[in-house]
Subunit: 429 residues, 2 copies
């Protein structure tokens, strides 16, 4: 496949991707659905209004769903419609296929804009946000720190994908500044409790998926059907205040240590675009209960990276390189588990992976792990001058991700764009 749009070789958004997002532009403040192609962005409202979603599923509904300010209505249509939209756009953007988009210069200039004029918005209205804890390496590393090596994993961990409800309102799109939180913190040595600014500001490198179609309350999504319900994936930074979290979280879980902000990348990459990158997930021992039964290739070879740009610097330093394929529990298992009790899932629900840590020191997905809860400085610059235990005000973090594989002799690269945020100083106490 090649496009009449010039696509840089290292682009996250080749014709094989076709992610979905919501944009406005400098000259049009209206929020509308869009896709990304190379360094350009295609306005899906313009495509729909021109009648170019002409396939059997979308023909009658495209104008309506692509006139919304979020993708929720499109998500509710179901996977056959998502597939039709993607293949229609691939065809419209192809070099070799005649289309109004390719051949009508005035229409093309209105419907396709350069990314420099685009403002990304939240792609969906999130009804509920859940975060899992599905990396065995991460759960083990954290467990060792707080309970020692022998009790690192709780007894439930290998039997089900542990997760908790997060705060939907504070999930924000890449680029939104994140304010350092205040809260109650216990001094480790004296045990004194202070109302204070967070001193252990951390990130968590995660991915997340959006539910496309849901289930009714009291029903469940069978694991065999889960792939029809998952719309696509984004990168996620689950910013975490470790000192606030440490004092508050027993016995009901993380709350203010997490809900001050969670950043996602703006473009939702569909599961169809990620299909060539499926790999076997780690062997699960013990074998999970029947409702969590896996398929042969339920993991994804998605390379992930987090870069930190220190305040006052122009250089970024890579602080983690990890991979989604390490995850013990799959997205299918997370969704089947979430609904096994009849919990109703809806279009736009966001389900986070949990921090993705790999097997070694360079693949840890949080500074909590890399600095051993602040005990060890993480050296960033080669000269040793720039180092961190936790994140400082003015630091920027950027998570990126890409899948690479050879498909039919051609090297394919699918990326996610950036999940980026800069930490701003706390409000007055």
């Amino acid at each position: 496949m090649s496009s009449f749009i010039d696509i840089p070789a290292d682009s996250d958004f080749p014709l094989e991707n076709i992610p979905f997002g919501v944009i406005s532009t400098k000259d049009n403040a209206a929020l509308r659905p869009a896709t990304a192609i190379g360094d350009h962005v295609v306005d899906l409202k313009a495509i729909a209004d021109a009648g170019l979603f002409a396939g059997p599923l979308l023909k009658a509904v495209a104008v309506s769903v692509f006139s919304q300010t979020s993708l929720n209505a499109f998500m509710r249509l179901g996977r056959p419609s998502w597939r039709e939209a993607r293949s229609t756009l691939q065809s419209l953007l192809s070099k070799g296929t005649a289309s109004r988009l390719r051949d009508d210069a005035a229409f093309r200039a209105a419907a396709i804009v350069h990314k420099s004029t685009v403002i990304n918005h939240m792609p969906a209205q999130i009804g509920d946000y859940t975060d899992f804890y599905s990396s065995k390496e991460h759960a083990f590393n954290v467990g060792v720190m707080f309970r020692g090596k022998d009790n690192a994993l709780q007894p439930n961990w290998v039997h089900l994908p542990v997760g908790y409800h997060g705060r939907a309102s504070s999930v924000v799109v890449s680029g939104t500044p994140i304010r350092r939180p205040n809260g109650l913190i216990q001094d480790f040595a004296t045990k004194a409790i202070h109302y204070s600014t967070c001193k252990k500001f951390d990130y968590e490198l995660e991915t997340a998926f959006f539910v496309g179609t849901g289930n009714n309350l009291g029903e469940r999504i069978d694991i065999a059907d889960t792939e029809e319900h998952i719309f696509g994936m984004v990168l996620m930074n689950d910013w975490s205040a470790r000192d606030i979290q440490a004092f508050e979280y027993v016995p009901l879980g993380p709350f203010l240590g997490k809900n001050f902000g969670t950043t996602i990348s703006p473009w939702i990459v569909t599961m169809d675009a990620l299909e060539p990158f499926r790999v076997a997930q780690p062997v699960q021992d013990p074998v999970p209960a029947s409702y969590l039964a896996s398929g042969p290739k339920d993991a994804y070879n998605l390379q992930l990276q987090c870069d930190l740009k220190p305040h006052g610097h122009d250089t970024s330093y890579t602080i983690s390189k990890t991979n989604l394929k390490y995850m013990y529990w799959s997205m299918k298992q997370q969704l089947a588990h979430h609904s096994v009790n009849g919990c109703n899932m809806n279009a736009g629900d966001l389900l986070g992976s949990g921090t993705i840590s790999g097997p070694d020191d360079t693949s840890l997905g949080s500074l909590l792990e890399a600095s051993v809860n602040g005990k060890k400085e993480v050296v960033l610059s080669a000269d040793g001058a720039v180092k961190r235990t936790f994140i400082e005000d003015g630091d920027s973090l950027k998570i990126t991700g890409k899948c690479e594989a050879e498909v039919d002799g051609k090297k394919i690269r699918i990326g996610f764009g950036a999940c980026e945020g800069t930490v701003v100083p706390a409000a007055q106490l």
Copy 2:
């Protein structure tokens, strides 16, 4: 105050109440805002369309906010507007004040309908739902069961109102059947883990409040301002699967043990209606941090009751009589705490009290406590024939609540209507 509508002496909805909800009627399926008065319901869309919200704040916006299918738009207007709506309705419904509602029989018949023709719906679209754990008696009782008397309360408990994020999608209105959930359960004796139907199905007697106006991400709601942000209260049953919860909840908190369903009463009683029933909250020792500083009367003398109607029976048995005034942490403190880290609250957010247990055996807000986690049968009928450790299929639970006080020599009673649900058998495993 007296109304031209005949109001039974024991009604939850005298002219002093004026709660807000969302209804449809047998002859009009459109969802619209309403208030309750005695055994009748007033259609607020009809009142707005007739131009009767003529006060300075609502005049221009009443048609718009009362044409919505939820109260969220009305909530966003702020407390002065909520007050104006309530006093306008009190005046329109007064016996002694001329109004089109009182004097135009045809209009009255269209705008005021008997409750028997009304279907109640969710009053607001809940963005995020949080449940607290603010009854010291409940936290202590549960703590003793799981950690013994000396470690019953966690160290954080007296310093902050412990809470966690719940699932917004499965909050349902009174009358919705609740399906018994399935999930992974660990056998206490053998430690074996089974995919099974819940065997310890419980309720939690709670109240909850709706946020009216919120705050921006990164800002906080000062405790001195919290009363302007709280729209009103409902009764809540936080159905709980104790066996699923017990296995899953470490270390990230309750998840599938809770998120299969939460029932609320349909009418939101405003804080203005509850003002005469304010009382001092329990003494807090240690004194909380400055951002949690209390006023002199931040508790409410709200009498609460839960009745169980066993399957196959026509009689209900009271299983709990408790009072909101026992709560250690106030709603003001819960809201100030929730936002102290900059977490953004929105109109329609629901914040639960946590199980409300009182000081003795008759005031326990859950069967977990009353049956000591299933070890002791709770006798319901005088002859001892009807008893429960947990809730059985077909059982109905009904939570009710009322405030009573003498105001200017007149006995005032403000009620909440019912928060009711019947348990239906689990789905096939």
